[in-house]
Structure formats: structure tokens, C-alpha cells
């Protein structure tokens, strides 16, 4: 599972993670559950239907399939299986009846979503082997993550017997098993790091395993370490810069040098903030979580960049471990 504060790039990271895990001939399923069509946007394809389809080929012959789980469709699927609604099901959906039912019992929606993901994890092929080597779930943001995963609480909303109840128990077991890890994406600034650390504690209380912290969009630091604090405080020696530029044949007007100085101060403030944030991740929690870092891509994330990020993850040791 991949989560993170909104805006940290968790969908991009989930996609890169799926690509990295598929490297070397593996088959990976990438699942989204929020009806956002985030996966389609990251891979620059048409919106995904509610079915598993191949979305990318990974280095070494692996493949990534993608699935956009839709809680209404999932609920209809259950009803279909157990009650044979037939054509009426679709009409009910149009009338908003399904939305209504999931609103009556908010936990129901989450159980349906995680239930579908669980079915994909446990499904086996004709040869008896798991259909997927790994399933990467682009989970809701950290603010809603633990509620989303807390199936036991959701089940309190539900009738004590019945098909969904059984499903929920299975989901609960899977989430608390070593097969599941939650990876948290963060940026190196105050609020996301605080939220990440809060979530780690929350997950621990809920007895759910936390995987790695993924530091996303790590800025390239150009200033020497010893200059950062001074520059962040506004102390940049403009004359040294002018001399340095002159030596490379660049003669700039004083106002232009001032512009460079202002850019340098902003850069230094940002770098100092990132260093402080990294420091927190070094010491909290105790012992700290394993960490993956992804670079800030100045030109944005297109499909090519996604492969770059995946490669970076592979180099940092991301792979599918043998499942037993």
C-alpha cells in the first residue's frame, strides 16, 4: 500500500513502485480506489474501466496491470453474485441507490474496495500460483488511511452475518499479515513529515506494518553544506559571485546579480528546511524506518520519467521477495 499526505505524489510513487517491482519478468497489479483515474493520468492513457488491463511493460519482460476499483461497481458485483439483480442493478445505480447504500454505512465502501484488492492478492492462476507477484494499492491519503484500513471498525456498521461480513474478516487478516506493508510518501517539509510520523504511530497502534518512507521530489542541493545556513539567513557574498561569474565570461548588471542572490537565498531556505526534515526522519520513529528517495524532476513526470523513477527505486533495492 502506498499512502501519503495529499499533494506528495503518492500515485506517481505507487506507479513507479509497481514498475520497479515488475522488473525482471514479474507481474504486478496497480490498484486505485478513489475514483480519481490517477493511474490513467500518470501513464497518460484513457480512463481505466473496472477491469484489470495491462498498462505498462517493465524492464526485463515484466508487466504492470492496472485496476480502478469502483465501490459502486464492486457492490453491484456482490449483489449480482448473491442476489441476481440482473438489469435492475444498473438502473438502481443510475438512480443513486448504490451511492445511497454506501452512505448509510460508510464502512461498507471501504470494505468493498479493500475486499476487491484482497481478491486480487489471493487469486491463483490455473497452475495454482498466485496470479500476481505483487499488488500495489494506491491507498487514500494519510488523513483517511487508518479509517480505510480499519476493517473491524467498519464491520461494526454492518450486519453481523452475510457475505460481506465474511469478506471483511478475510481482508482484516490480510491487512494485519506480513504480506501487507504500508509505504508512506512524503516531501521534505514540515507538514508532510509531521503527518507521516503521526501516521506511523497510528498504524502501529492499529497493528499494521509500516514499510518504507519514500522521500519524494528531493531537491538537488548545489550550495556547499557550510554555506547553507548563512545563505538561508540572507548572507550571500554578491562580490564573490560576481568575480566567479566574470571568470567564466559572464558579466551581469548589479540588479541581475541581486536577482541571483535572491534565488540563492530562496534555494538555501528550502535546502535548510529539507535538511531539518531529513533530520527528523533520521531520529523518528526509533528505530527509524527504511527510506527511499526520489529526485525532483524539473520537467515534470511523463512516462519516460516514470521509468527513471522506477529504475531509481530498483537501484535502491526495491524488488519482489519470494512469497511463501
Amino acid at each position: 500500500m502506498v499512502s501519503g499526505k495529499g499533494g506528495t505524489g503518492k500515485t506517481t510513487v505507487a506507479a513507479a513502485l509497481a514498475l520497479a517491482m515488475a522488473t525482471g519478468g514479474k507481474r504486478v497489479l496497480l490498484v486505485e480506489v478513489e475514483g480519481r483515474q490517477g493511474i490513467a493520468q500518470v501513464f497518460d492513457t484513457a480512463p481505466l474501466p473496472y477491469e484489470e488491463r495491462r498498462i505498462a511493460v517493465a524492464a526485463g519482460g515484466g508487466e504492470v496491470r492496472a485496476l480502478a476499483v469502483d465501490s459502486e461497481a464492486a457492490l453491484l458485483e456482490y449483489f449480482e453474485m448473491f442476489y441476481r439483480l440482473g438489469m435492475a442493478g444498473r438502473t438502481l445505480r443510475r438512480m443513486g441507490a448504490i451511492e445511497f447504500a454506501t452512505t448509510l454505512a460508510p464502512g461498507l465502501r471501504d470494505v468493498l474496495l479493500t475486499g476487491k484488492a484482497k481478491e486480487c492478492v489471493t487469486r491463483t492462476g490455473a497452475d495454482g500460483r498466485p496470479a500476481y507477484d505483487a499488488v500495489v494499492l494506491d491507498a487514500p491519503p494519510t488523513g483517511r488511511l487508518v479509517t480505510f484500513l480499519d476493517v473491524t471498525k467498519a464491520m461494526a456498521d454492518l450486519a453481523k452475518v452475510g457475505p460481506i461480513h465474511g469478506q471483511a474478516e478475510g481482508v482484516n487478516q490480510l491487512i494485519h499479515s506480513p504480506l501487507t506493508a504500508v509505504h508512506l510518501v512524503t516531501l521534505l517539509s514540515d507538514l508532510p513529515v509531521t503527518e507521516t510520523l503521526d501516521t506511523v504511530a497510528e498504524l502501529e497502534r492499529a497493528d499494521i506494518g509500516t514499510g518504507a518512507v519514500v522521500v519524494n521530489r528531493m531537491r538537488e542541493q548545489w550550495l556547499p553544506d557550510r554555506s547553507v545556513t548563512a545563505a538561508a539567513g540572507g548572507r550571500v557574498d554578491a562580490s564573490r559571485i560576481r568575480n566567479g561569474l566574470s571568470s567564466a565570461g559572464l558579466e551581469l548588471a548589479p540588479a541581475e546579480i541581486d536577482g541571483l542572490v535572491a534565488e540563492t537565498v530562496e534555494h538555501a531556505v528550502a535546502v535548510a528546511g529539507e535538511t531539518a526534515a531529513l533530520g527528523r526522519l533520521d531520529t523518528e520513529p526509533d528505530p527509524p524506518l527504511s527510506r527511499l528517495t526520489l529526485p525532483n524532476l524539473l520537467s515534470g513526470v511523463d512516462l519516460g520519467a516514470l521509468y527513471e523513477l522506477a529504475e531509481s527505486l530498483t537501484e535502491q533495492g526495491v524488488r519482489v521477495e519470494a512469497r511463501r
Binding site: 442493478g89 453481523k160 452475510g162 548545489w222 540572507g234 546579480i257
Partner: protein, 389 residues
């Protein structure tokens, strides 16, 4: 460069005809900060302003003096001029609405109903609906001549416009009536199929979520039925207010593909609904402050020598990064403006650190009003060395 006009923020907030400003946009683009900065600037320029914030970060809330939920506007300490601020308490707003429309005993019964508690706290459209309701109240109060509204941090900016209707669909009780008493005989054709399906559906739903919830829902609808008309009227009035010429929508975005995509959806929607769009606020941009191209800067970074060479190389490389970032941001904005040429735009450069006090808000307000195109196109106009400190 994009060809769109610059949004004149001061003209907008100084115009006495501007009575309501609604700041919309997807989550995480700085809507709350923009709303608060605009409200403060308007107040300090002589308007009597109230700002309705939805979910401010703690330090910003403290700066506005709204760190406890009050659900009523309170004067902002230290603001010059007349500024009041409040933070929406959706549960209380909903309760007060019920109390305002029903006799005390009946209101109490509704508020205690478990189904009401679900709807008023966790239904995904409640916050938007209540923000609209509160906006209506603040305008009706007549105490302020400008109301600035932040919108809930939903994923999509459209939620703000759609949620009240979705909410109404739930509250009008049609669905619950069907669920509670689905067995009506005598349908024909498709209707018969649907009703038969509905019977099955109701049974399926109660198997899954339990009969108790349905009973609560049904009791709620019966009690709520007589209130519904009043609620719907109010929502209708607020909608009319949003369409009136005294209202200005500001779409807030960050220079990122997702945020600008949402901004584009919202812009189209506003124009389809005849709602008045004042412009786009593009937060957290990175203007280039020295006229050196990325390629030139990178090449020079390899050539520097002598004293100051290390710092000069670093400065050139960070400048090159910034130029590339700026180009990407301008490219994204150009794409937006090409599709929406009539939308005027103001860019607000990124500030380091969180905005946590009134001075920070004043600075943002100043940047909003400055409006002029900043960037490499106008070297020298931008000695903002203090801008980041």
C-alpha cells in the same frame, strides 16, 4: 508567455459592488491562505470584511484568532481596519439549521437520530453544503460589506457546486421511502422490473448493513420531511446569490498539471452555470530573477575559476534549475490560457516556509496585488532579495 490579462486584485476588492469572493480550487493549492490574505488586504484598504475559512492549518488559524471552533465570526486581533474571521463547524451549522426550522422537541429528535449523525458528520457533501449555508447567513446578516469564502479541501473544486444537490437528493427521502417500503404492487414494464429489483435491493441492503440503520433512516426522513422545503429554498437562494453580479469567483491553483486541470474543469463549469469568474490565482510560482538561460548558466558553471568559483558554480546551477522549473510552470499556464483565453491571471511567487502570521498574509496580499508579470522578461524590476527571508 501566456497572452492572458493580469488579474487586478485591488480593483476587485476595492469595488464596493463586490460583495462576495469565493476562492475555489483543488486541495493543497493554498486556497485558505489566499482567502485570508485577500480578506486582510481588503479590510486594511477600508472594506468591512468577514472571512469564512474551512480547515486552516493550525498556525494560520491562530494568526486569525480562530484557533477554537466558534462558528461565529470574531474580530481578528491586530488587523487594521475591520476584519472578522471564523472557521466552519459543519456539525453545529447543521444543528442550528435544524433548530431554526423545527420546533424544539422535533429538532431534538432529529439531532439525536443516528442516521442524522452519519449525514451531518461524515457524508462527503455535508461540508460543502454547510459552507454554502454559512455563506448565506453571513451575507444576510448585513454586518459586513464583503464576505470572503474559502471552500472545503475536496479533491475536486467542482464538489463545492455539486455537493448541495447531492445532499438534497439524499434528504428528499425518495430513496429511503423506497428502501423502507419497497413492495408496491401493480407496476408495468420497466417500472415493474425496477421495483422488483428494488425489493431485492432493499433486502440485500438490509442483509448487509442491518435493519437498524434502515429504521433510523426511515424515522429521520419522516421527521425531516416537513423541514425539507425550507432547506431546499435556502439552498436555492444561496445558488442565486452565487450567480449575482456581486459575487466573484477566484480559481486558485498551483503550477502543477493536476491543479491546473481542476482549475480548467471549474472554469468551464462556472461559465456553463453563468457564475462570474474574476480570474485565476496561480500560487507558488518560481519567477526567474536574472536573465541568464539555463544552458548558459550550466555551461558557465563548468568554466568558473579563481576565488568565488565554488559559490558561483552553485549559484549558476541552482539558477539553471530554477529557469527550467519556471519554463515548465509557464508552459502549463500557457496551456491553460490557450484553452481559456478570457481568464485573467495573477501569479503569486512561492514564499519559503508556512504563512503563520498577519505579516505573512500581508506579504501574500502584496504579491497578489502586485500582479505585474514577474520573470526574466523584466530583469531588474525584481530586486526581491528580501522576498524569501
Amino acid at each position: 508567455m501566456s497572452s492572458s490579462d493580469t488579474l487586478e486584485v485591488d480593483t476587485l476588492i476595492d469595488d464596493p459592488e463586490t460583495r462576495v469572493i469565493v476562492c475555489c480550487g483543488s486541495g493543497g493549492v493554498g486556497k485558505t491562505t489566499t482567502s485570508a490574505a485577500l480578506a486582510l488586504r481588503a479590510a486594511e484598504r477600508g472594506r468591512q470584511v468577514v472571512v469564512l475559512t474551512i480547515d486552516p492549518a493550525r498556525r494560520l488559524a491562530q494568526a486569525l484568532g480562530v484557533d477554537e471552533l466558534s462558528n461565529d465570526p470574531a474580530p481578528v486581533p491586530d488587523a487594521e481596519g475591520e476584519l472578522a474571521a471564523m472557521m466552519l463547524d459543519m456539525r453545529r451549522t447543521f444543528d442550528e439549521m435544524v433548530q431554526g426550522h423545527a420546533p424544539p422537541e422535533k429538532a431534538q429528535k432529529i439531532i439525536e437520530n443516528p442516521f442524522y449523525q452519519v449525514i451531518s458528520s461524515s457524508f462527503s457533501g455535508t461540508q460543502e453544503y454547510m459552507a454554502m449555508e454559512k455563506l448565506g447567513q453571513l451575507v444576510a446578516a448585513g454586518t459586513w460589506d464583503l464576505v470572503v469564502v474559502d471552500t472545503p479541501p475536496s479533491r475536486s473544486a467542482l464538489d463545492f457546486l455539486d455537493a448541495p444537490q447531492r445532499m438534497s437528493r439524499f434528504l428528499d427521502g425518495r430513496m429511503i421511502k423506497l428502501l423502507a417500503a419497497p413492495a408496491r404492487a401493480g407496476g408495468r414494464g420497466l417500472r415493474k422490473i425496477v421495483e422488483a429489483g428494488f425489493g431485492l435491493f432493499a433486502r440485500a441492503v438490509s442483509t448487509i448493513i442491518g435493519g437498524q440503520m434502515l429504521q433510523d433512516a426511515s424515522a429521520f426522513v419522516q421527521a425531516f420531511d416537513t423541514l425539507f422545503g425550507g432547506f431546499a429554498d435556502r439552498a436555492e437562494k444561496t445558488y442565486a446569490l452565487l450567480r449575482s453580479p456581486g459575487t466573484a469567483f477566484l480559481v486558485v491553483a498551483a503550477p502543477e498539471p493536476d491543479a491546473l486541470r481542476e482549475a480548467a474543469y471549474f472554469t468551464d463549469r462556472l461559465s456553463a452555470e453563468d457564475m462570474p469568474l474574476a480570474g485565476l490565482v496561480l500560487n507558488r510560482t518560481h519567477p526567474v530573477l536574472a536573465p541568464v538561460s539555463a544552458a548558459r548558466a550550466r555551461a558557465a558553471a563548468e568554466q568558473v575559476g579563481g576565488p568565488g568559483s565554488q559559490i558561483a558554480a552553485a549559484v549558476l546551477r541552482l539558477h539553471a534549475d530554477r529557469v527550467e522549473l519556471h519554463q515548465r510552470e509557464e508552459h502549463l499556464l500557457t496551456r491553460f490560457s490557450a484553452a481559456h483565453p478570457s481568464v485573467s491571471v495573477v501569479r503569486v511567487p512561492a514564499l519559503a516556509g508556512d504563512i503563520a502570521d498577519l505579516d505573512g498574509l500581508r506579504r501574500v496580499g502584496g504579491l497578489l496585488a502586485e500582479g505585474a508579470v514577474r520573470g526574466a522578461e523584466e530583469p531588474g524590476a525584481t530586486s526581491r532579495a528580501q522576498g524569501a527571508s
